[in-house]
């Protein structure tokens, strides 16, 4: 193990990724080649319970989806921040000399995240059932 250079441990990963994609691609092409192709209008039109499709699906949809997307961006980044902290958490007492340093760090951090969550919550961004929220 330790004989191999550091960078090597990533090669299998890369190969895995390539192979997985290749395999998926292969399946698609294979089915494309194997399957027969008899086209007609009904097949080629979008499925809408057998009716002729009305318009297309490029309309606007509820702004809540955007909301969720934005919230996700923010909270996800916050989640990412916890990982490095979690990794060195065990060593923090030895670095700072205070066993609770790391804890308070994360406590304040989480408090901020919590405040944000609370705000969004109370503002009603998160209830999808009714439209009381001012979006």
């Amino acid at each position: 193990m330790q004989a191999n250079p550091y960078i090597w441990q990533y090669f299998p990963l890369a190969m895995q990724i390539l192979i997985a994609l290749a395999m998926a691609g292969g399946m698609i092409t294979a089915s494309f080649l194997l399957g027969k192709h008899k086209r007609n209008k009904t097949k080629l039109s979008a499925y809408e319970c057998g009716m002729d499709p009305v318009g297309d699906a490029r309309g606007r949809f509820s702004v809540r989806f955007y909301m969720v997307a934005m919230l996700f961006i923010l909270f996800d980044v916050e989640a990412v921040f916890t990982l490095p902290w979690a990794v060195i958490y065990k060593q923090l007492p030895h670095i700072t000399g205070n066993p609770f340093f790391g804890f308070w760090e994360m406590f304040i951090y989480m408090a901020f995240v919590g405040v944000g969550l609370f705000y969004v919550w109370k503002k009603g961004i998160l209830n999808w059932s009714n439209d009381r929220a001012d979006l």
Partner: protein
């Protein structure tokens, strides 16, 4: 009290205030008035002022030496204290003036107050940090809040436009600043100003560092709307709500100027010969473009936008001078400009109301007869912007240009003063319009100032006057604070920073 806590106390207080507001906001029923939250914000601002004063006392006891905290990333000294107080004052004035600003059931007033607090936090952080990472974070906190504030009048299409433009160009500028920081990091292996300074002195060919400084200048140039990076200013100011313009034309600029002072005089004095040229170009361009551009404007806020570009130019003139002079002159000018510009825009806020029905200069014609008090104040602020003596505006210009002449850049002073000659043309046009009979008999409804707002306005006026008549006290503080720029945090203070980084390093391996 430990230095670490004290160093961030003003910011902490403001943040807490903002958070409390955010917590309280959703609890208040939608229809209800948000004024209490405004008062809370005001309380927070005053608290942070108190904290800043406490810092001043401590530094005084330490014999005016800068005190660093958090592994030498934060440094508070008279310089930072001055800017803390300045920013706090600006925010306070804006808060007071916009307590009764909002109308309508869904006013988002609560968020407005919270955002003001957070923005102020960011700006303050910028002024007291001697580590580019913190500078960047502070910059972003203030910028992002102001992006949102710029678009605060949701109804108007212009509002969302202005906030979009501000956002796009602001982030564009941020990218430049960041690239500059990255290059600086590459040149010196650190983002701490002190290390930067030391390394630059030792390094022979600082091409990379030069590039870095240039990039940062571009970025910060955008933020202070110095020509040729001023394109966003007029549109944004026109679309944004007046009180927000009052804030973002002064406070963030003050903060960025503080950063520039620290960066150029404290971080990269070694490259003085090089950045001097760039700054001079910026200054001249801003003065000329700002004033000439303003001549053509009809919309008052646009006009003030261009004038703010020009003022940025005057301020940059100070950068071209000798250290002590330059710093105190720049600081003083910032203060003076803040006082008068905030005042003027707040008056416009009061007159125009939330929907800002007073836009063009013509709309303002004859306002002087309807609202003598407010108009007198506005006139006074305009007079100060022209640079008529016994006002802060005049003494600021006087001090900056005397510094320039003292540094031997007489031609800069000439250019600047000729520019102020051009400038007085449009100011006087507005001033005259205020006091002349309205030409057409179209009845414009003119808002009046609420008592609280009146207090803020009078405070601004008194500030402007005081800076013009008795600048001595402030000048003393500034002249004493200037030298602290030269002494950054020492080696020993920088050491502890190495510990956590090494720990992280051991993990990433």
């Amino acid at each position: 009290m430990s230095n670490n806590l004290l160093a961030l106390l003003p910011e902490i207080i403001l943040t807490v205030a903002g958070v409390l507001i955010m917590l309280a906001e959703p609890m208040i029923a939608p229809g209800k008035s948000r004024k209490p939250l405004g008062w809370l914000a005001i309380l927070g601002t005053i608290g942070s002022m108190g904290a800043a004063v406490q810092q001043h006392i401590v530094t005084d006891r330490a014999g005016n030496l800068p005190i660093t905290a958090f592994y030498g990333t934060i440094q508070f000294d008279n310089f930072s204290v001055f800017f803390h107080l300045l920013i706090a004052c600006i925010v306070l004035a804006v808060l007071l003036a916009s307590l009764d600003y909002f109308e309508g059931p869904v006013s988002h007033a609560g968020e407005y107050f919270a955002l003001l607090c957070f923005g102020a936090t960011g700006m303050m952080l910028m002024t007291s940090s001697v580590e580019l990472l913190l500078v960047f974070i502070g910059l972003e906190i203030s910028s992002i809040t102001t992006y949102i504030l710029a678009g605060f009048r949701k109804g108007q299409a212009t509002a969302s436009e202005s906030s979009l433009k501000y956002f796009l160009l602001g982030s564009f500028a941020t990218a430049f600043t960041l690239y500059g920081i990255a290059l600086a990091f590459g040149a010196t292996g650190s983002t701490s100003l002190a290390v930067l300074a030391m390394t630059l002195h030792s390094s022979m060919t600082p091409t990379l560092a030069l590039l870095a400084v240039a990039m940062m200048l571009i970025g910060f140039g955008f933020k202070v709307s110095a020509a040729p990076f001023h394109v966003w200013t007029p549109d944004v100011y026109q679309g944004a709500p007046a009180p927000v313009v009052a804030l973002m034309s002064t406070a963030p600029k003050a903060a960025v100027f503080a950063v520039l002072l620290r960066l150029l005089f404290n971080g990269a004095p070694a490259l003085r010969g090089e950045w001097l040229l760039l700054v001079t170009i910026l200054a001249v361009a801003s003065m000329c473009i700002g004033n000439l551009g303003a001549l053509a404007q009809k919309d008052v806020k646009r006009l003030l936008a261009y004038s703010s570009i020009a003022h940025a130019g005057y301020l940059l003139v100070a950068f071209t001078c000798f250290q002590a002079d330059a710093v105190s002159a720049a600081c003083f000018y910032t203060a003076a400009y803040a006082a008068m510009n905030v005042g003027a825009l707040l008056v416009i806020t009061q007159l125009g109301g939330f929907d800002e029905h007073l836009r063009s200069i013509e709309d303002f014609t004859g306002v002087g007869l309807k609202r003598p008090f407010l108009t007198a104040l506005l006139g006074f602020f305009l007079v100060s912007m022209i640079g008529i003596p016994f006002t802060g505006g005049f003494f600021g210009k006087f001090y900056v240009f005397s510094a320039a002449v003292h540094a031997g850049h007489t031609w800069l002073a000439v250019v600047g003063l000729l520019n102020s000659g051009v400038a007085c043309f449009y100011y006087i046009r507005l001033l005259v319009a205020l006091y002349s009979k309205p030409a057409a008999q179209k009845e414009v409804s003119v808002g009046k100032a609420s008592p609280v707002a009146a207090v803020a306005l009078i405070a601004c006026a008194l500030g402007t006057l005081a800076l013009g008549i008795a600048p001595g006290k402030l000048l003393n503080l500034l002249q004493r604070s200037a030298p602290t720029l030269e002494t950054g945090p020492s080696e020993s203070e920088l050491q502890p920073a190495a510990v956590p980084t090494s720990a992280v390093a051991s993990i990433t391996r």
